[in-house]
Subunit: 346 residues, 2 copies
């Protein structure tokens, strides 16, 4: 094993030192332990631009704003640029970069960067607006709303506003042979280089993986229906681990390969950030809940009950979803099934 | 928090029990902790078919074969189908599935499944052929060759063969504005919704991320050159942490955004498995090593020294690469730079 520093010519090593004071090199580098995540979020134009528009519409000079999980600080900088006094909280070392970006943009005097968990942070005043981009895949992954709600209950003034102000989850029945093979259980239906791999399909059906995909609009067997709506000002963390039922009427005959899921959030002042198949793609894409494929016909009534449950041990990024599925045809129940899905959004 | 079993109707719960004996449900499910990985590998047609062809060409009835890291057992099944007696080793619980697949294909009597680390396993005989699909991104990620080489030194007979038999690494200079923005440092060169984010570029340049990408052939500023070649029969683990230099002559004027990397392995009997931009895509794709962009001209001589080093602490999946770069123009050195890259292959 080599020492990295000893490999670099001396004049180049000198260039490796950050020019601006930061907490420390090692902390800065550690912040890139999840590489590309800030890049991904900032490069997501629909996301970042929706927040920019909402912040510019809502924030007035002198307003007090709390940004929970500020990352590179981009939302805090939007708010500061609109005239607010901002408290920007993040426990990650990325905060050193956020500070530097505030300085580069002449906004450092209006942003208080607090490197801490938002659960521990103390603010001198209640705030008028709590801004946060806390949504994971299918909104719930990451469970960051827990921290946001703690911050809301401690720091938001009685007339304070939340951004996002509401969350809506949608579901739709999907026919998509390619997704069925690539993300469902279809790969195992056919011989694999002359070998029978169908036992793998049976195993997979016991613990299906929910993954992030790009759902073509043409794959929908009926329009999406709203599964859940939460008011971010009044709902509690428990409301996110929902149990909700939704029904669809199949619009054309086909094969039901699973369900597509997406979300919408209201950001205030009529700005919504949507992740449906009907709007330009975001980095969240859509979620695909595969099932054992099933022939369906025009007019079939499909009912789904979906329950979201945090994993018992550890990984808060991936909720478990339980799905009950019923299909009624001309008034009779012709199919009923139960599935368990783990979220995986690589 | 709900108990999953209690949510399912009783008759459906019964259906959740695996039909075939396995080590245990929990172990089976644990094997899906890295979801989709077996699916990804098996669905990679170029990969799986190259192994199938090589195994069918090399394996003769009665041959003894060791499969290191057998996963779902697909390579072991190819060898068994060709008449070999196979020892298939994996420490993952996926081995229960592999056993089931061997039974489904009538090959269970020819495959000995050993759930163990290959470093601990005992075999009754030396083997004639060691098969393994150990390659990570840019071949080196995962460092699984370490285990393969231990198995080789302990279990391969004096005239035994290795599959793969050799590994070649390639590098090429790349111009690609889209990659530069999406995976290089280009995102920060332009204002971000009216904010100056260029300090992030300076930070990123201190610790660049090597990622898996699809390199268009048109992005190459000169053909690829071989950086490293290893004989899998005779090389040692230390040989994988190489320090190697390669030179290119730029064929057209452009902007050098970084270097593309890929690998080739020989599988025996003239079958090669290649991951270059010139052959159909594999799940390994190509690797992109970004740099600070640089104008280059036809005839420029570009030299790169690349060193691969394991991370000191822990994560064996991501080697660190150090790159020295020189550019000579009409006999003069016009540029010299040093970069450090961490591998990230999400």
């Amino acid at each position: 094993m080599r020492n990295s520093a000893s490999n670099a010519p001396a004049e180049i090593q000198a260039g490796l030192e950050p020019e601006d004071p930061m907490d420390s090199d090692s902390e800065y580098f550690a912040s890139y332990g999840d590489p590309g995540v800030h890049r991904l979020m900032i490069a997501d134009h629909a996301r970042t631009d929706a927040y920019r528009r909402a912040i510019e519409a809502v924030v007035e000079p002198g307003m007090r704003v709390l940004d929970v999980g500020t990352g590179t600080g981009i939302l805090a900088l939007f708010a500061a640029r609109a005239g607010a006094e901002v408290w920007a909280v993040d426990e990650s070392s990325i905060l050193g970069v956020a500070r530097e970006l505030a300085e580069a943009n002449g906004l450092a005097s209006r942003v208080h960067f607090l490197r801490d968990r938002v659960e521990s942070v103390k603010l001198p005043h209640q705030v008028d607006l709590l801004v946060s981009e806390w949504m994971g895949f299918f909104a719930l992954a990451e469970c960051m709303f827990r921290s946001v709600y703690v911050a809301r209950d401690r720091h938001l003034g009685p007339d304070g506003r939340m951004m996002p102000s509401d969350v809506q989850l949608f579901l739709a029945p999907i026919e998509d042979s390619q997704l069925h093979v690539e993300r469902g259980v279809g790969l195992w239906q056919r011989p694999v280089h002359g070998l029978d791999f169908s036992p793998l399909m049976e195993h997979e059906l016991h613990n299906l993986i929910t993954s992030a995909v790009d759902l073509p609009q043409s794959s929908l067997l009926s329009p999406g229906e709203m599964l859940l709506e939460l008011d971010c000002r009044t709902s509690s963390t428990a409301d996110f681990f929902f149990e909700s039922e939704v029904g669809f009427t199949i619009e054309r005959p086909g094969t039901l390969h699973g369900f597509g899921g997406w979300f919408d959030v209201g950001l205030g002042s009529d700005v919504r950030l949507a992740t449906s198949p009907f709007v330009p793609q975001t980095h969240w894409r859509q979620s695909f809940f595969p099932i054992r494929p099933l022939a369906v016909y025009e007019g079939d009534e499909v009912r789904v009950q979906l329950r979201a449950t945090p994993k018992e041990h550890g990984d808060r990024r991936l909720p478990i979803y339980f799905m009950d599925l019923w299909i009624d045809r001309e008034g009779d129940e012709v199919h009923r099934a139960f599935y368990s899905h783990e979220g995986s959004f690589e």
